[in-house]
Symmetry: C3
Subunit: 109 residues, 3 copies
């Protein structure tokens, strides 16, 4: 059993959720926020047997897309990035950031 | 030290929380959503010493109950389940889905 | 690769976030609730290479401070604590509660 923690963009969250349901991969969703852009994103918790981890990673890759996001100057960022941030900057936000964790015990009551 | 991730129904969350406090088991609560029914539920994060894991699992089992939930036809589900979903369907939602994770280091500042 | 789960007080969350950005430590934030005081706090998920874990722990320690919080009598707590809770009680809330988890696989799509 592994627990997959996947941070994805809100725009892909509904598609991913539907694909998980269709594949009978059980999941829980948490509303989250990006540390850098501070905009909303979605964190999925997905527990699955070891033998389905690759299938799940493929599914995430297929349904979650990277996008460029333009960020306007953010005055609250660290002072030493001022020069860099004076003009709107384009940042590439990946489709998914995924951590696969070992599960010591799994229980379903 | 283990970190327990437990997804429980909102209806049981207050009872479980009270039981954890009484047992001096420290915990953090996150609002979450079920991948399938898309309704709100609660995800507890509970760090505890290895020797209290069984006690904690018993406590969760005792305070979290499975319930049947009727779901009305959901048109947004995968097209190929249409015939199955045309009528209201009863789904059994378990009391708790629990992952026990190993903790490499624990710090309390 | 390790995944750090850090529960911190809301008051320190913005400072910690800024420090993480400046140190180019990538993170995701979740709104959470304390099991005992039931007030809001913040749970950070921070994936980082093994060699930066100590730097990250120092950074969390530096930016997250313990505070005393006065709690008024809470009638909903377990009946047998009544005598103890009749008068306002001061509780020390730590700066951060931190779990370092091993990561089996990391993917960025
Ligand atoms: N200090 C910095 N300086 C310059 N650019 C920076 C930066 N920190 C992040 N970025 C860029 O901004 C994008 C959005 O980051 P954010 O933290 O809002 O949103 C992140 C965060 O919520 C999560 N995430 C990424 N890596 C993570 C990690 N190691 N641990 C926890 N969460 C992570 O995934 C979202 C997308 O990340 P992704 O890497 O694809 O895309 C990132 C990255 O390209
Ligand atoms: N392996 C896992 N990883 C992460 N989180 C997990 C998980 N297994 C369960 N959960 C979480 O626990 C809730 C209850 O799951 P349970 O399996 O008891 O009860 C489930 C199950 O009986 C049923 N169900 C879930 N997925 C299904 C599917 N693809 N097809 C048919 N029934 C499904 O619907 C109930 C509610 O599911 P929902 O997703 O709304 O809510 C789930 C989800 O939030
Ligand atoms: N092992 C663990 N697993 C998961 N999350 C954990 C954890 N230990 C701490 N946390 C999280 O960190 C917050 C601060 O905990 P701390 O132990 O510093 O500060 C705690 C502690 O000093 C005290 N406390 C907690 N439970 C208690 C109990 N049963 N009896 C007496 N005091 C308690 O109240 C403060 C606030 O607790 P609260 O639960 O509201 O908020 C907690 C909780 O959200």
């Amino acid at each position: 059993m592994k627990l997959i923690v996947a941070v994805v963009q809100d725009k892909d969250s509904a598609n991913l959720q539907q694909a998980l349901v269709a594949a009978k991969l059980h999941a829980t969703k948490l509303a989250s926020t990006g540390g850098f852009l501070r905009s909303g994103n979605t964190t999925f918790l997905i527990g699955t047997e070891d033998r389905r981890v690759d299938e799940l990673l493929d599914l995430i890759k297929q349904h979650c897309h990277s996008r460029n996001q333009v960020i306007s100057p953010i005055s609250s960022l660290d002072a030493n990035t001022d020069g860099y941030m004076m003009h709107p900057v384009e940042v590439e936000v990946g489709g998914a950031t995924v951590f696969v964790l070992d599960v010591d015990q799994f229980k379903h009551f």
